[in-house]
Chain length 412, copies 2
C-alpha cells in the first residue's frame, strides 16, 4: 500500500463510520460483516466503536475463496440447510438492537461460473429463514450502514490497465474521495452534503407526484408512486430516533414506487455485479407493475432467475434519482459494485421496498405495506438506468407534468 | 514466503490433515477453527476436505487483534455473556458428528498485559456453557485434530534473532519437519511413527503400574495411576470406530493419573504460553493429588489464577512420556506453543483427564469417571517437566520398581 497517509485515512474512514454512519453510543452492540481481506480496517472500526462506548463489537468474517468452494462442492440440498442457531443469532443481535456495518470488498466475479440454481436456492433459503432479521434492518428498527473496502480482485476489475499495486491504491483513492475522507472534517462535509440532498427530497415530498415518467435512449417508462410516499436521502432514523447514514457514499434521493403501476420499457446503463456474477446490457419491459420481458447481453440466465425468483422479484421496490454529473459519475469509473454505481446514476430496484418510504410504514405489518403499494419480496436488487440524455417528469394527480430531470441533471 | 516449494508443502500438509489426521469420509461435516492469518492453508484444508467427500466444511475465523480489543474494552460482565445461539451452534456440530481441526497460529503474547481476571472469567463462562460440547471432543465422540500454522508474531518470538522473512520461513520449516511433510509419503511416515509409539504404549499397558516416580533436578514426585488405565499414543478412535490423530506433531505416550494420588515436587523445564500470556520458571508441590504450593518467575499471577480456578484445576489429568531426544527437543527450539513444546518433553497436565485413558471410560458418566480417579475440570493445561537428567520408575502394586526413563530417554 503506497497511498500517502494511508493509515491516517483508514482511521478517518473508520471514525466516520462510527461517529456519523451508525453513530455509536454508550452501551451499543455493533455487528460488523467484513471479508478477511479487510482485517486492518475491521480492527480500526472495532476499536473506534469501543472507544465510542460500544459494549460489544461482533465481527462476522467472510472469504470469497471459501464461498466459492462451498458453492462448488456442497450439494443443492446441503446449501439450503439453515441451522436454527444461525436464525437465533440473527434474532439475538436484533434484540440487542445491534447497529450493523456491512463492509463490502467482494470480488464481483467471485462466483462466476457457479451454477446459478445453487446460488439462488441458498440465497432463498437464508433469506426466508432470516426474513424477520432482514425486515428489522429494512424497516430501520436498527441503524445500519453499507460501506466499501478495496480488495485486489475487485480493484483489478475496476482498473484493468493499472499494475496490481496501483489498482488497489486507485480503488482506495476513489473510496476515500467519494466518502469525503480527504476533507479536513469529513463529518462536517457529510452534514453539508446531507443538507443539499434534503432540499431535493423536500421539493419532491411537497409535490407528492402521482407518477414519474422516464424518457431517454432505450427508455420510455411510467412508474406510479404510492399515496403518502416519502422521498428520503442520506439520513435515516431508527426506532429509537437515532439518525444514521445507510450508505457511504450516497448521492441519491429515493422512495418506493407503487408496485402495481409501471408501464413501458427501460434500459440499464451500467453493468451489475449480483451474487458474484456480472450482468450487463439489461433491458426490461413492464406492464401493470410487473416485468413481462427482460434480456441481458451478459449474465442473462442469472437475471431471468432473479426475476422469476418469486412474485415480488418481478416488481419494483425503489426509485432513486441521482444526477448524471454526480461526483462518482464524473469519475467515469464503473465500479461493478452497487454501492458506487447506484450513486452515479438514476436507478430502480426490483424486490423489497423500504418501509420508511411511506408515512407510518415502519409501524405497518407486511400486509399493510403491500396494500399501500410497497413491494414485498426477499430480494432487493438495484439496476442503474440513468444517462446523460435522461429526462424525468413528475406527473401530478390532476395530470400536470413538472420537469424533475433534464439531460441527466436535476431540473428543480 | 521464500521457502522452496512452499505451495506444494502447504498442500501436502492440508492433505495429511484430511486423509490421516481426521480421515474425512463421504458425507462428513468438518469444523475448522483458524486465525485469519492462516487463510491460504485454511482454504487448502477446506478444498481437501470437500475433495475427500465432506458434505459441509464450516470455518470459524479468529483474529488476535480483535481478541485483544474485546478483552481490553468489554466489561467483566459482558465478557461472561454466552448467548444461547453459540451453545446451540456447538451442539449442532456435535450432533452432525463434525470432525474438528484447530489450526493454531496465535501470537503467544496476544493478551499480554490484559487483566487475567477478565480472561479467566470469560474462559470459565464459555467453558461451563460449552461443557457438553467439550466433553464430546475429550471423550472422542468426534474425531479432532490440533495442528499449527506459522504466523509472524509467533515466529518472531521463537526466532528473535532472524529477519522477519526468515522468522516465518524458519517456523514453517519446523512445522513441516515435525509433521513429516518433507517425506515423500507423509501418510506412510506417520503410520511407521505410530507403530513405534504403540510399542511403548503396549509395554506400559501390559505392566499396569500402580504409580510413576519422577526424579531429576528440582523434581521428586510420585503420581498414582488408576486401575485399568490405558496408555495411548498418536492414534485415537471415535465412537464410530474411525481412527484419527489428535495432535500433529505428536511424540507422546500418555494416560490419566489417579487424580487423588500425587505427592512431592516437580519443576517445569520450559515456559508455557497460556491464554495469551507466557508463564516461565514454574514449581509445584503436590499433596494427596493436589497442588499445595506453586510459583513462577514470570506470569505467576496467571498461574495461581489457573490453579485456583476450580477444584479440578489443582489436580492432574494427564501424564505423558516423551524422550528428551525427541525430534522436536533435538531442534533446541522453544516454541512457546504447547503442541510443540509438550512433544519435546515429558509433561503433566492440570485439569480434565481424557475419558479414553481408562477402560470403558468413553461410556462412563462424569461421576463414574471421577470415581475411577479421572480428574474432572473445565481446564486442561500441560506443563513441560522433562529434562536430560530425568528418571522415571514404574512402581507395581507389589512395590517392584521398573525403570521407564533414564537420563531423559526411554529405558524400555
Amino acid at each position: 500500500m503506497t497511498l500517502e497517509n494511508f493509515e491516517t485515512l483508514l482511521k478517518k474512514y473508520a471514525d466516520l463510520m462510527i461517529h456519523k454512519g451508525i453513530a455509536v453510543k454508550e452501551g451499543d452492540y455493533v455487528l460488523l460483516n467484513a471479508n478477511i481481506n479487510q482485517a486492518p480496517l475491521a480492527r480500526l472500526i472495532t476499536e473506534a466503536a469501543y472507544q465510542a462506548g460500544a459494549a460489544y463489537v461482533k465481527v462476522n468474517w467472510s472469504d470469497d475463496a471459501l464461498s466459492r468452494l462451498n458453492y462448488t462442492y456442497r450439494s443443492l440440498e446441503n446449501l439450503q440447510e439453515v441451522p436454527q442457531y444461525l436464525i437465533d443469532e440473527g434474532h439475538y443481535f436484533v434484540e440487542k438492537r445491534a447497529k450493523r456495518i456491512s463492509l463490502v470488498s467482494r470480488d464481483p466475479n467471485a462466483l462466476k461460473g457457479i451454477d446459478p440454481n445453487k446460488i439462488n436456492a441458498s440465497n432463498r433459503a437464508f433469506s426466508n429463514a432470516l426474513e424477520e432479521v432482514r425486515n428489522a434492518t429494512q424497516s430501520n428498527k436498527v441503524s445500519w450502514l453499507v460501506v466499501a473496502g478495496a480488495s485486489q480482485e475487485w480493484a483489478a476489475l475496476v482498473f484493468p490497465d493499472k499494475s496490481p499495486e496501483d489498482q488497489i491504491d486507485a480503488l482506495w483513492d476513489q473510496i476515500f474521495k467519494t466518502t469525503r475522507i480527504y476533507e479536513a472534517d469529513p463529518i462536517k462535509a457529510w452534514e453539508e452534503h446531507e443538507n443539499r440532498l434534503n432540499e431535493k427530497a423536500a421539493f419532491l415530498n411537497d409535490h407528492q407526484f402521482d407518477a414519474l415518467h422516464y424518457t431517454g435512449p432505450g427508455t420510455d417508462l411510467t412508474i406510479g408512486l404510492p399515496k403518502n410516499h416519502i422521498w428520503e436521502s442520506a439520513g435515516s432514523t431508527n426506532e429509537k430516533g437515532e439518525v444514521f447514514i445507510a450508505n457511504m457514499p450516497t448521492e441519491e434521493v429515493f422512495t418506493a414506487p407503487d408496485s402495481r403501476r409501471a408501464d413501458g420499457y427501460i434500459s440499464a446503463s451500467k453493468p451489475l455485479a449480483h451474487g458474484g456474477v456480472v450482468i450487463d446490457g439489461m433491458k426490461f419491459t413492464f406492464k401493470d407493475g410487473k416485468v413481462v420481458e427482460a434480456s441481458a447481453s451478459e449474465g442473462e440466465e442469472t437475471l431471468i432467475k432473479l426475476i422469476e425468483e418469486n412474485e415480488g422479484s418481478a416488481s419494483l421496490g425503489e426509485v432513486a434519482l441521482v444526477p448524471h454529473q454526480s461526483p462518482i459519475s464524473q469519475s467515469g469509473i464503473i465500479f461493478f459494485n452497487t454501492l458506487f454505481d447506484e450513486n452515479a446514476s438514476n436507478h430502480i430496484a426490483l424486490g423489497q421496498a423500504y418501509a420508511s418510504s411511506v408515512q407510518g410504514g415502519t409501524q405497518m405489518t407486511q400486509e399493510e405495506l403491500a396494500q399501500a403499494g410497497l413491494n414485498r419480496s426477499n430480494v432487493h436488487v438495484d439496476f442503474m438506468v440513468g444517462n446523460a440524455e435522461m429526462n424525468v417528469d413528475g406527473i401530478t394527480e390532476d395530470g400536470q407534468r413538472i420537469p424533475i430531470f433534464r439531460n441527466g441533471e436535476w431540473a428543480i
